[in-house]
Symmetry: C2
Subunit: 360 residues, 2 copies
């Protein structure tokens, strides 16, 4: 990697309850070893090393996750963990990373904005596609859209525009036709059948200067704050002072959907957002009956199950069930049908109502 | 209660795995608080106080359950916990109790042999029926048969013989037509439809002298050993010496099915043998959707479920499942369909194979 390699900005501040009881406020999804031996964050950081020198890999995270993040990526230079004083959604988090990159390498520094929590099955393909997107980022804001494998209603989509001639990196590159909101099922099916739509992956590639410019244009309060942090002699003091008052909005809604001239590289590298325990059957090797059994749990008979015993959990014995999710930790047990796996938040809310803050 | 009240012989030596993970070798079914605030054994002993003075209530148990039994029935005189040196099935256990009763009160002492582990819903009715059986025991061996509520294939049945005139206690009393083995489903359905069959409850009422006499006749090795224990100056030494070599056979197979002239009192008092976790929906008050939720577990939606969090268990959250059993203890979690609840033993065997002796 040359010193001019891109800055990888890994967004690792998310909370979320969809993988409860394994995921907690202080142990969110990206810190779980869902794919096997390493956490999703550790895998994301490892993939980033194929793109950037370690001193150009930044992880933006929340204050209460800082030490867990450092533990998950011990090889990362200490100053490359960028801590949000409090959560302000992804536009601000990317802005914070952009300011750090700008202060170190100027407006032309290329940023590769990478969410920490998807699982990537084909890492070589991922690297090739992302390199193409990074190469394109010098021209304009570029995103990677995921070729859909099913009519998912939980994701936003990107409509493909015309192909771009002379694209860098050898990959197919298109103009972005539009970002479209999460569709209903019929619309999602139409999108997938048409071949003209990709899933919005939340990956964006652009220069630090372009990010700050777009923030000034579309989110002026954020733009002003980022400019102040960029210029401040004491960066950390400026962050502490300005960050709390920046608008809390996603980078998709706040900037990318409003910016023009975006390009998109279609990607097909086994991307999975691990949106619920049901995803385990996709990201782990299932047995012949489609079961994924993790952590020494015992499953007898049954098909299509996800049975997880986290470290410290009781012994888990399951017999004769189908398409069920069973997850045990040292202090909580979840049982939910796989097709209802998104509804785990109802149980988290119930635990909260029951005064079990310790389980959140 | 007069000093001539019957001796209640409560059989509490059973092991069994059908209520795993709550039941363990050292914490078997009869010690579980399945019905609510008290263990099945404590309830059995409490019911026995309606029939006998505490000094005539004997609990026969296994050596490794002795201290748990004493803890469960703290009001019982110390010498009334009768400990088998090692398990030798129910003929020997009843024989041991009969010897103790004989040594204290002679051959005419009436024995009420009562398994520790059924759940009884209507205790007043139970007391009335058992009193009638005790009254009948001076005439002949008497049992209580349970009026069947469904075509159960897991129990032995008793075919009713002719009604007995002038029966004591005001209850209907019949001659025993025959003890019949566990039937197949079609046969069980025929039995129940006929009205001529009762479930074998394992409750027997007879004098100590008659028990010893029947043992001599049908199980001579047992009869000799019991006679030796009855006559021995040092009872405990005789038990230690003779008990290990007595035949291991149930009292039903070894004695009752071979004895003649038995009477039976039909009983209908909400008897439930709690043969698996599925029984919880019968012995506990279920909610409007037929769910039984115990110990602060959280169930959202679903019907017909049994969800149990034992003391010390993790928080249990279950959503959107039907007719499922979920049981958590501090060190193990069970998930099994209610109609498969008998198959929990397969999971116990698997735990054993996995070297988890600590879970047995």
């Amino acid at each position: 990697m040359s010193s001019a390699s891109a800055f990888a900005i890994i967004l690792a501040g998310g909370g979320g309850t969809r993988l409860w009881p394994a995921s907690r406020r202080r142990n969110p999804k990206q810190l779980l070893r869902l794919g096997g031996d390493e956490s999703l964050l550790a895998a994301a950081a490892r993939r980033a090393r194929e793109l950037s020198d370690p001193d150009r890999i930044l992880i933006v995270t929340a204050a209460d996750q800082e030490s867990a993040v450092r533990g998950a990526v011990p090889w990362l230079p200490r100053e490359n963990v960028v801590v949000e004083p409090l959560p302000r959604n992804t536009a601000a988090a990317v802005g914070l990373g952009a300011v750090v990159a700008f202060r170190r390498a100027g407006a032309q520094a290329v940023l590769a904005v990478l969410p920490a929590d998807p699982h990537i099955a084909d890492e070589a393909r991922f690297t090739a596609i992302v390199r193409a997107a990074i190469a394109e980022a010098a021209r304009t804001i570029t995103t990677v859209g995921i070729k859909p494998t099913h009519a998912e209603t939980g994701f936003g989509y990107i409509r493909l525009g015309p192909a771009v001639a002379g694209a860098a990196g050898g990959a197919a590159v298109h103009q972005v036709g539009a970002f479209v909101e999460k569709p209903d099922r019929a619309t999602a099916e139409r999108y997938v059948a048409s071949g003209d739509y990709l899933w919005n992956s939340g990956m964006f590639f652009l220069t630090a200067g372009r990010l700050l410019e777009e923030a000034r244009r579309h989110l002026p309060a954020l733009g002003q704050a980022l400019d102040a942090m960029t210029a401040a002699p004491d960066f950390e003091a400026a962050v502490r002072e300005r960050y709390p008052s920046v608008p809390s909005i996603s980078i998709d809604n706040g900037i990318m959907e409003k910016a023009s001239g975006l390009h998109v590289v279609p990607g097909d590298f086994g991307w999975n957002d691990v949106g619920s325990w049901a995803a385990m059957t996709a990201i782990r090797r299932a047995d012949a009956a489609g079961n994924v059994v993790v952590g020494g749990a015992q499953l007898i008979e049954g098909k299509g199950n996800v049975v997880v015993a986290e470290p410290g959990a009781p012994y888990v014995g399951v017999l004769g069930v189908d398409d069920l999710v069973v997850v045990a930790t040292a202090d909580a047990v979840l049982v939910i049908p796989k097709h209802r796996a998104q509804d785990v938040r109802q149980l988290v809310e119930a635990a909260k109502k029951n005064g079990r803050e310790d389980l959140l």
